[in-house]
Symmetry: C2
Amino acid sequence: MIRRITMPLRIGKVTIGGTAPIAVQSMTKTNTRDVRATINQIRSLEEHGCEIIRLAVPDEQSADSISTIKKSVSSPLIADVHFDYRIALAAMNAGVDGIRLNPGNIRDDEQMAQIVTAAKESEIPIRIGVNAGSLPSDFEPGLSLAERMVDLAMEQIRFMEDLDFNLIKISLKAFDVLATIQAYQMIADRASYPLHLGITEAGLPRDGAIRSAVGIGVLLYQGIGDTIRVSLSTNPCEEVSAAYEILKSLKLRQRGPTLVCCPSCGRSETDVLKLAQEVDKYLKKIREPIKVAVMGCIVNGPGEAKEADVGIACGKGKGAIFRKGKVVKTVSEENFLLALTKEIEKIV
Amino acid sequence: MIRRITMPLRIGKVTIGGTAPIAVQSMTKTNTRDVRATINQIRSLEEHGCEIIRLAVPDEQSADSISTIKKSVSSPLIADVHFDYRIALAAMNAGVDGIRLNPGNIRDDEQMAQIVTAAKESEIPIRIGVNAGSLPSDFEPGLSLAERMVDLAMEQIRFMEDLDFNLIKISLKAFDVLATIQAYQMIADRASYPLHLGITEAGLPRDGAIRSAVGIGVLLYQGIGDTIRVSLSTNPCEEVSAAYEILKSLKLRQRGPTLVCCPSCGRSETDVLKLAQEVDKYLKKIREPIKVAVMGCIVNGPGEAKEADVGIACGKGKGAIFRKGKVVKTVSEENFLLALTKEIEKIV
């Protein structure tokens, strides 16, 4: 897994691209004009580890509220702007750290030039955020979806480069995972700007997380991608947790504990699924990147549990607690949770 | 995405490998001796689309119950056997369709030869199911985890080939996603037997599904893999649904409806997340592989909804229902769900 090196840029305090850690983004789902609700959601996102936060800015009033919101939060904020170039200008005036434009729906060169000129003066990066759903219908109708998305992004890149602007990030999102992967692969060969990965409208939490994990996972494994957003139809904090799980699975980021747990089977002589849920709930309070194992039998239990910082391998009525590869004690079933959490407390 | 062609074999009525569809497997979590509970769980798994079902067989009584279970279910059954070769022989006597052996814990050549000879006579395939957690500690301690797993599998393959047995499937599972990917890539270059993919002890439903989607998704995208099992610490039917979501996202299988839904944002003027959940619940009853879209605003809504068989793009107080790319009607907010489901009913 060799990461493609891109031209780094800064969004507020966060570096995207180059050799910077792959940043986790999400988007507020509150009405941006509701400053209080939006600040609260941003703070929740920050607590979950979100590093860059995007806000929908559908009107000038929303753009204006950014200056108030910025005073109360520490994360870089990105304004998501469609259709109206004046809103992009207003958001920059309000002090936003980045802009996302959908080149499918601001098609006027003069308007786009005004945005780019203002962004250049204020050194505010722009994401060229192409979306399969809003490709102009008359744009290269004969080509594949991936080619159309890439060509629209390249057209926009050239336009910005002609204005001597290069604080550019690119995304090419579709619901179609294969088309999305293909589009990012193509643009990675044609441009050296940082790439923001995502599968658009991926769905409800479970299916959406799986679609996103496959699409984003394949690209990250190929070394493509500098920042990710998992789009889920749920509380945005779940998007952040899912994003970290993807990054953790490929060892690209660490965050919080990792729970190894066996799926249980007919060999299990204890309710390992219930114990795993209890341990998972307990681990929500822990911030350290420890690895905890809950195993339901002797077949794989001791072996896998040995690789974890702390683990339990449950047999009939009793279990073995491991710590850094060594059996610490044998405990009876009613003490499984207590004994395991006590060992966890010792190392965090 | 070009699939690697492997040597096909049959497990009961299901072909694995070659150009056969990538089969979905799961495992019962009931006590196999509890014949009634096990049959019920197998039937639930079959209803969810599970194509091959594995049962833990920890003792001869469990092996014997297979003959009773087989009479009541139609799926191919695989006996999961560890440590004791006599249990494998008993399971084959009881009419099982396949055996999974962990070469890490049956280390006696004479015992293994007895299993292979019996499998050859009955034409019962054996999965060489290597697991990171049960690699013998004295086996190639200096090599990487992936290399050790591959070498143990290759040793076992050669042993079986020497006995003129080639009804072989291979798995190389670890919790470590990168090591798992690497191991399967290596074995794909060295053997032409079908591969059973999985990430072991992946975790609770959400995190486990994400880890599995990344690991299995990367491999399938590379054309590697003939059958998959998603290991989750929950009801096995959820493993099957997650497996299909992975396969659907890469267009390798179709099953049931697909819900495209926007994650919602500050532009949304309706509770799109609630509507999406209601639609998702409704779709659970539908078996046809239709694509339904629930979009929360005009920016991406009409474009994406147009690609779906049926969709709704929700604006302020009213929404546009699309069907096969054409606007069918505009409906008021209180009729969103009703109008969408009526359109769905027309096409299924």
